[in-house]
């Protein structure tokens, strides 16, 4: 358990840096584009595409952090009315199920990425490299859900 806790802390730290870094880069890139376009009547090739991919980076790293912070959007109409004990019992199986879904999406994403890499023309290879965030992101989400399923959450521990 100690090792898993350390792994989770490391992942959270890493995701925080990556999420914050991607968002900061997105902001800087957008501002740079505005300056280049308006003052020098020019722009950076591929900057718009890169900006939009950076949103995917923010999305995946933010979503991975949201697992640990319990911030994922849920409908949970029933669970809101369940007693705390029943809610606690449901927590680990639901996290494990989410991990399984993410694992299947990771496998699909890896297959997609491999094909994209194989068939991409040389000048578009960099774009495929940036899309590596898709399998990586689902992989991170899967790992976070596995960790929360194994470690549980605070009120869960005594039970």
């Amino acid at each position: 358990m100690h090792l898993l806790n350390k792994l989770r802390a490391f992942l959270v730290q890493l995701e925080t840096w990556l999420a914050a870094g991607s968002l900061l880069l997105l902001l800087l890139l957008a501002l740079l584009q505005i300056v280049a376009r308006n003052l020098f009547d020019t722009g950076f090739a591929g900057a718009d595409t890169l900006s939009r991919y950076l949103v995917l980076y923010v999305m995946f790293f933010g979503a991975a952090l949201a697992v640990e912070r319990e911030r994922h959007i849920r409908i949970d109409v029933c669970s809101a009315f369940l007693p705390a004990r029943a809610r606690a019992r449901l927590y680990r199986p639901l996290q494990a199920l989410a991990a399984a879904v993410c694992l299947l999406l990771t496998v699909a994403a890896v297959r997609y990425w491999r094909d994209a890499w194989q068939y991409a023309p040389d000048h578009e290879r960099w774009l495929v490299l940036t899309a590596l965030v898709i399998p990586l992101g689902f992989g991170l989400l899967c790992t976070q859900f596995v960790l929360t399923a194994l470690l549980g959450r605070e009120p869960d521990e005594p039970a």
């Binding site: 999420a19 939009r52 949103v55 933010g62 911030r71 994922h72 409908i75 949970d76 639901l94």
Partner: protein, 418 residues
């Protein structure tokens, strides 16, 4: 397939994250149709081609920075100085401040946490009844949803492909009408309970304006920038983020950039990630449903049972109110809008008008059980039971229903600029 759908709905109701529910649904559907699951990822990757995608994280960042800075306090001070002399005084101030703040913070509940905590004790202190104050603050958590640059409008624009500039324009009158209606109700209540309101004082107003001139300029700069043709929506988002960061760091000195920037960026990423991951996963499922001609089948069924524009609008409102009661606004936008668009177009509803109707319904859903996020957050913030809060919001919800009818059946309110 039906068993899988029932199981997934049950899991969703039990609290499986929505993106996982949609992901599982997409995987099951792809398998049943004999399709490669990699198709779902192709659709997700297509998200990176949405032209205004960058607006979501950048405007959200601006909202997070404003919330962490002193914006809530400055807004209350400003609107109190400008509007506190009106009948209904502080309640009108509450409505204006909440609407302003929500348009930036994205109606994620931050308004109730940031402004509600400050305003609740003051409202009760000036003798507004407790139930009225709770109802007002709970419903105010989603006021301003129709004003630029609200996250809900941006998401609707991206999902539907409707021009975001047009949506910003379309939201102005309906949003203002709602504020006037609620303000009038607040004034009547204030008079009924003999709530005092202060006299207008120029020197106080000028001091408040000077203190928050940066905040007042923000929506003006966005609107003038976009509609004056100086910047695109995406550029406006980047400029807003920078402007807010500079104002809070160096002008108001409410944020220590070195110590807080990382946390603010990460908080934004969590908010954006939890919303966009649903959009990313749902895009695959939506596309599979479109490939299976589900909207077309729905359209055929509706054409058989609905024969008029008005009937369609009535059913649309009932359906969306139910959706609003069951789902939060972001998930509903991602899941429902692609199915609704072809239906609405068939019945002659303008996609921009549909956007305003959609968001107005979901705005009401914020305060209705079982999934009224405003109720949950207000319950935590004010330590009151959810049912009691729902009872407190009833007069406000009744007014909002009247407003919904106006917005739905008077398209001019949304499309006056055409």
């Amino acid at each position: 397939m039906i068993i899988a759908i029932v199981l997934l709905v049950a899991l969703a109701l039990l609290g499986l994250p929505l993106f996982a529910v949609l992901g599982a649904g997409s995987l099951v559907y792809a398998r049943e149709s004999g399709l490669d699951a990699a198709l779902l990822i192709i659709e997700l990757n297509r998200l990176a081609t949405s032209p205004n995608l960058t607006t979501i994280p950048l405007f959200t960042f601006a909202g997070v920075v404003l919330a962490a800075g002193g914006a809530p306090q400055r807004l209350i001070r400003l609107f109190n100085a400008l509007l506190g002399w009106l009948p209904g005084g502080l309640a009108v101030v509450t409505i204006a401040a909440c609407a302003f703040f929500t348009s930036f913070s994205g109606a994620s509940g931050v308004t109730i946490l940031a402004l509600g905590g400050l305003l609740y004790p003051v409202l009760t202190k000036v003798h507004y009844p407790e139930r009225f104050s709770l109802g007002l603050l709970t419903t105010s958590g989603s006021l301003g949803l129709l004003f630029a640059p609200s996250l809900a409008i941006l998401l609707y624009g991206i999902v539907s492909g409707v021009n975001i500039d047009e949506l910003f324009l379309a939201g102005i009158v309906p949003g203002t009408v709602l504020m006037v209606m609620l303000g009038t109700y607040a004034a009547v209540t204030g008079r009924r309970f003999g709530v005092s309101h202060h006299a207008f004082a120029w020197h106080v107003a000028l001091r408040a304006v000077r203190a928050s001139v940066g905040d007042i300029l923000l929506p003006i700069l966005i609107v003038v920038g976009i509609f004056g043709g100086f910047v695109t929506v995406s550029e406006a988002a980047a400029c807003t983020a920078l402007y807010v960061l500079v104002m809070e760091t160096w002008v108001h000195r409410s944020i220590d950039l070195q110590a807080q920037l990382g946390a603010l960026l990460a908080d934004t990423a969590v908010l954006v990630g939890s919303i966009l991951i649903i959009l990313g996963v749902a895009m695959g499922l939506t596309n599979l449903m479109i490939d299976a001609q589900l909207p077309m089948q729905l359209l055929e069924w509706m054409e058989g049972s609905i024969d008029s524009h008005i009937k369609f609008l009535i059913l649309l409102n009932i359906f969306l109110l139910l959706v609003g009661a069951m789902m939060d606004i972001f998930s509903a936008t991602v899941v429902i809008v692609p199915l609704l668009l072809p239906l609405a177009q068939r019945f002659g509803i303008d996609p921009v008008h549909l956007g305003i109707i959609f968001l107005a319904n979901l705005e009401i859903g914020y305060s209705t059980p079982p999934v009224g996020i405003n109720l949950f957050i207000a319950s935590q913030r004010f330590e009151k039971p959810i049912l009691g809060l729902f009872r407190a919001t009833l007069p406000f919800l009744a007014l909002m229903l009247v407003w919904l009818l106006l917005v739905t059946y008077l398209p001019t309110l949304s499309l006056w600029w055409r």
